[in-house]
Subunit: 520 residues, 2 copies
C-alpha cells in the first residue's frame, strides 16, 4: 500500500486507463494531472492517519517504563540504520511507524519517563499535547495581529490570567503599558530584554559606548545570560558573574553587587542590567530580590528576574514570597514548558513597558503593513521577539489552565515538592551520603561522601556513581559542581512520577553506591 | 463531567468515602492524596481526548472553505468573550472545543484555506502534522546529543538528504566541516550566520572595530536582515540596502555592489557580509549569485543565500539553476515550513564550516557537561542556534520526505507554478490590469491599471481593491510596493488550492474591480 494511499505508480496506471486528459489542451491537462498526484491535506486521510498516530503515542506512554530512561546508543548509531538519501517514491505510514519504534525510540532519552530526574523537567500533559495538536493542525503564523487575531489576543489574555495567578504587579499586565508574551525559551527571553536595555542605554549615552556597558548576575545564573551578552555585543570582561558560595546558599549577596557596581562606576563604566534568579539551575538558589532590586533601581539599571523553573511554584501562596521584590523588576520570566504541564516550547515573559521591546525589535516592511497595525490598534508580537514567524502557542497554555484549573495545578506542584522532601529524607538517613544545600523546591542536591574521603576522590566517586546509575537505564539524573564539589542533582518533576518511582530511584542509587564503595 | 475525568469535588467525595488515609502517617497520607488528584499524562485519557482532537481538526479541514479566509473580527473582540481570570476548577474538553469553534476560529486567518493567496504560504500536510504530533507527544528537549541522540542524528541525516535533493555543494553536508541545522525561522538563520561573521571579523581586527563593519544586501532583502544587524550591533548606517529597480527585475546588480564595497573600503570600513536572495518577498526576484559570490569572495566576506521561499522549487531540476553560484556561499537557508509541506516551524540552514557557528554560539556550563560532548564525538545543536532548548523538529521533515517522496514533492511545486502561470494568463487578457514584474515561481505581481489613470490614484485604487477583496472573506491576498507602485501579490502555495480556487479568486478580483471602477 502506498503512503497515505498515494502511489505514483498506481496513479500513472489509473490515469492511463481512466483519464480523458488526452482530449484537453496540453497545459490544462498537465495541471489536472498534477493535481491528482498528491493530496497532502485531504481531511479524511489526515483523520485516518492521525488516529493511528494517537494510538502510537498513547501506546508509547503505556510502555514508557520499558525503555532505558537515558538512551544507551553510541554516537553515529542512526546513520548505520537509515538510507543515504530520501526516497524517490512514497513509503507507507506503517513503515515509518515501524522505523520510529525500532530505530528512533532507542535513541530517545525519555524526558516523560516517571524515572527521569535530570536537569529540570520538561512537562508534557494531555492538555498541553492537545493544544500542540490544534496549533500544528490549523498551522497559522501569527506574526501580526491581522494574520490571526485570535492568536495574538488569546496570548495577551492568557498571559494576564497567569500574571494574576502569580500575583504579578499590575504594571506587568496588558491593560497599562506592560504585558506578557510567549517566547520559545528563557534564552530568548533574557536576550530580548537585554537588547531592550542595551538600546535604551546606547540611546542615552551614544552608540559608541557599547564597550562601557556592564551586565551583572551571580555565577549561578544560567549560561544563557552570557550567551545573550555575546550576541548583544556586551564586552566579555563587562559581563560580571559575581561569586557566590555556601554562606548564602549560592544566592547573590546584595553587598557583593553594590560593591561591583560602585567599582565599575568609579572606573567610568555604565551598569545597565541585573539578572536575578529565582531557582538557579545548579541548586535552585533564590536571589534576594528586594535588596537586589533596590540596588538596581538606585542605579537606574534594567532589573530582570529569571524564574524559568521555580516560577511555576509561585502559583502556590506558600511559595509566592520567593518573588517578593518583583515590584522593582522590569521583566519577569517563567517557563510553562518546564514544570507547568505545557509542552515545549512555552517561555513566558512579562515586561512593565512593552515599548522598550518594540523600540529594539520592531520592523515594519511594506509587505506586512495593514490597517490594524498602522492604526496602533493592536499588538503585533513580531516586535517583541527575535523571529518574525510565530506559532499559536497560547492555545496549549490556555488548555492547560482550563482543563486542569488553578487548584489542580497547585496540587501538582505541591505533590512534586512533597516527593522531593521524601527523597531528601531518604538520603538524610543514609550516612554514606550528604545533602549539600538545603532543598527549596523539588530539587535535591546531594552526594556520596564516605567518612575520611579526600576531596578529589570524592568527586571522582560521585562522577562514577552518576555514570553507574545512568548506565542502568533505570533512572536518569544529572550533576553540577558547587564550590568545587561534584554534586548529584535529583529533580522531581515529571507528570508520571509517583512515590514508588522515587523509592525505586533511591534503591538504585544505594545499590550502585554499595557496589562502588565495595571496590575500594 | 469534569475535564479529563478529573474533578476535585468528585475526588474529595470519593476520598472521604474510600480512602484509608487517616491511618497513614501525615506526610505520606498527604502525598498519596495529592497523587490522586491529577493524572495529566494518563495514557488512556490522552488516547481518548487526542482522538477527539483529531476529529475536531479533520472536521476543521472538511469545512475550511466555509470560513472567511481573512478573519473579520475587530481588535479586542476576544477579551469580551473570555473570563478575566483562569478557572479554579477544571473544565471539560467539550467546553473548550465549543469555545474554540465559537470564539477562537472566527479570529483565525485561515492560512491553510485553498483560497489563501497572501504573503508566502505556510504549508501544513498530513505528514508534517503527524511529525508535529509525534514530536509534541514524546516532548524531548534536544539541546545536546545526549538528551536524545536520535533527535540530533536524525536532523543531521535529514539535512544531508535534503542537501542532496538540492544538489548543494558537498561542503554543506555533514561529512566534512559543514552541515545543516533546523532553525525556527529564516530570521534566526540569518542572525546566527551574521553573528558568526561578525565575531570572525572582530576576532581579526579587534573587538573595538564594530563601528567599521559593513553588511550588504539589496533593498528587496527580507526585513529580518536589518533586524539581525540591529541585534548584532552593526551600525545602522553600515547596513547597506542597495537600490534595485525594474531594470534588473529588482535583483541586485553586481556593479552596484562592487561600487558600494569599493567606496566603503576607501573610507576605511570593513565589508563583512553579503546576503543575496533567491525569491525576494515582494516579487521573488533572484539575485545573480555567481557574480555576487565572486565579489563577496574577492573581498573575503561571508556570503549568505536566503532562499526561504524559493529554495523549495530548487528540488526540481528545471529550477536548480536559480541557485547556481552557491559554490561560493558560506551559508544557505530555505524554509521547509513555507512551500515544502512541513508544518511551521522548520527553517533549514546549511553552513560550510560549522565551527564558525560554534565559535560564536557555544556555551558549556558544568550542569550540561557529558562524556559524549566532552569527547567531541557528537554534534550539540545548542551551539548552532540562539536558544538552548530545541524540539525534535527533524521528525516532521523526515516524515514529509518519506511519506511523499521526491517525485511527488517536485510535482507538488510544479503544480503550484502551473496554477500561478494560469492566473498570470487570466490577468494578462484583462486589459484593466497589468503584470508588474515577470513571474518566476508561484507569485504573480499585478495591479489594476486603467488607461490614463495617474500614479497616486492608481495606488489608491489598488489599495481599495485589496481591501475590497479581502473584506469579502472569499480570498486573502497581500500587497507590496515596488518603485513607488502599490502592487497586489497573488501567491499560489497552499496544499488545498486547485484550479477552481484560482479561477474563483480571479472572478472575485474582476467583480470588485468592476464595482470599484464603476464608482469613478
Amino acid at each position: 500500500m502506498g503512503a497515505l494511499d498515494v502511489s505514483v505508480c498506481d496513479y500513472v496506471l489509473r490515469s492511463l486507463i481512466l483519464s480523458p486528459s488526452c482530449f484537453l489542451p496540453a497545459s490544462l491537462a498537465k495541471r489536472r494531472e498534477m493535481e491528482k498526484v498528491l493530496k497532502p491535506m485531504d481531511a479524511e486521510q489526515l483523520r485516518e492517519n492521525a488516529h493511528k498516530m494517537v494510538d502510537f503515542i498513547a501506546d508509547y506512554y503505556k510502555n514508557i517504563e520499558s525503555f532505558p530512561v537515558l538512551s544507551q546508543v553510541e554516537p553515529g548509531y542512526l546513520r548505520k540504520l537509515l538510507p543515504d538519501s530520501a526516497p524517490t517514491h512514497p513509503e507507507s505510514l506503517q513503515n515509518v511507524l515501524d522505523d520510529i519504534q525500532e530505530k528512533i525510540l532507542p535513541g530517545v532519552t525519555h524526558w516523560q519517563s516517571p524515572d527521569y530526574f535530570a536537569y529540570f523537567p520538561s512537562n508534557s500533559s494531555t492538555a498541553g499535547f492537545l493544544g500542540e495538536m490544534l496549533s500544528a493542525g490549523i498551522n497559522i503564523v501569527g506574526f501580526s495581529w491581522v494574520t490571526s487575531p485570535a492568536a495574538t489576543e488569546l496570548e495577551v489574555i492568557v498571559l494576564d490570567w497567569l500574571g494574576k495567578m502569580l500575583k504579578l504587579p499590575e504594571e506587568f499586565l496588558s491593560q497599562g503599558k506592560g504585558g506578557g508574551v510567549i517566547q520559545g525559551t528563557a534564552s530568548e527571553a533574557v536576550l530580548v530584554v537585554l537588547l531592550a536595555a542595551r538600546d535604551k542605554f546606547l540611546g542615552r549615552v551614544g552608540k559608541n559606548s557599547l564597550e562601557k556597558l556592564v551586565v551583572y548576575a551571580s555565577d549561578q545564573t544560567h549560561s544563557s545570560l552570557q550567551k545573550a551578552c555575546r550576541i548583544a555585543g556586551i564586552y566579555p570582561e563587562n559581563c560580571r558573574l559575581l561569586k557566590t558560595d555556601s554562606s548564602s546558599n549560592f544566592a547573590l549577596p546584595p553587598d557583593v553587587l553594590s560593591e561591583a557596581i560602585s567599582k565599575d562606576i568609579a572606573a567610568g563604566l555604565i551598569p545597565i542590567f541585573l539578572c536575578a534568579t529565582v531557582g538557579t539551575t545548579s541548586s535552585t538558589a533564590v536571589d534576594p530580590l528586594p535588596a537586589l532590586g533596590k540596588i538596581a533601581k538606585g542605579n537606574e539599571m534594567w532589573f530582570h528576574i529569571d524564574a524559568a523553573y521555580a516560577g511555576s511554584a509561585c502559583v502556590c501562596p506558600e511559595y509566592r514570597h520567593c518573588i517578593d521584590g518583583i515590584e522593582e523588576a522590569d521583566s519577569f520570566n517563567m517557563n510553562a514548558h518546564k514544570w507547568f504541564l505545557t509542552n515545549f516550547d512555552c517561555s513566558l515573559l512579562w515586561v512593565k513597558d512593552r515599548n522598550d521591546l518594540i523600540q529594539s525589535l520592531s520592523s515594519n516592511p511594506e509587505y506586512l503593513k495593514n490597517k490594524a497595525s498602522d492604526g496602533n490598534m493592536v499588538v503585533d508580537y513580531k516586535d517583541w521577539q527575535i523571529p518574525l514567524g510565530r506559532r499559536f502557542r497560547s492555545l496549549k497554555l490556555w488548555m492547560v489552565l482550563r482543563l486542569y484549573g488553578l487548584d489542580n495545578l497547585q496540587q501538582y506542584i505541591r505533590n512534586h515538592i512533597e516527593l522531593a522532601k521524601h527523597f531528601e529524607q531518604l538520603v538524610a538517613v543514609d550516612h554514606r551520603f550528604e545533602i549539600v544545600v538545603p532543598r527549596t523546591f523539588s530539587l535535591v542536591c546531594f552526594r556520596l561522601c564516605p567518612p575520611n574521603d579526600d576531596h578529589d576522590h570524592c568527586n571522582k566517586l560521585n562522577r562514577d556513581l552518576l555514570d553507574a546509575v545512568n548506565s542502568t537505564g533505570k533512572i536518569f539524573m544529572s550533576h553540577t559542581v558547587l564550590s568545587g564539589k561534584y554534586i548529584l542533582r535529583f529533580v522531581v518533576g515529571t507528570p508520571l512520577t509517583e512515590e514508588k518511582h522515587v523509592d525505586a530511584a533511591w534503591a538504585v542509587l544505594q545499590d550502585e553506591a554499595t557496589t562502588l564503595l565495595g571496590r575500594f
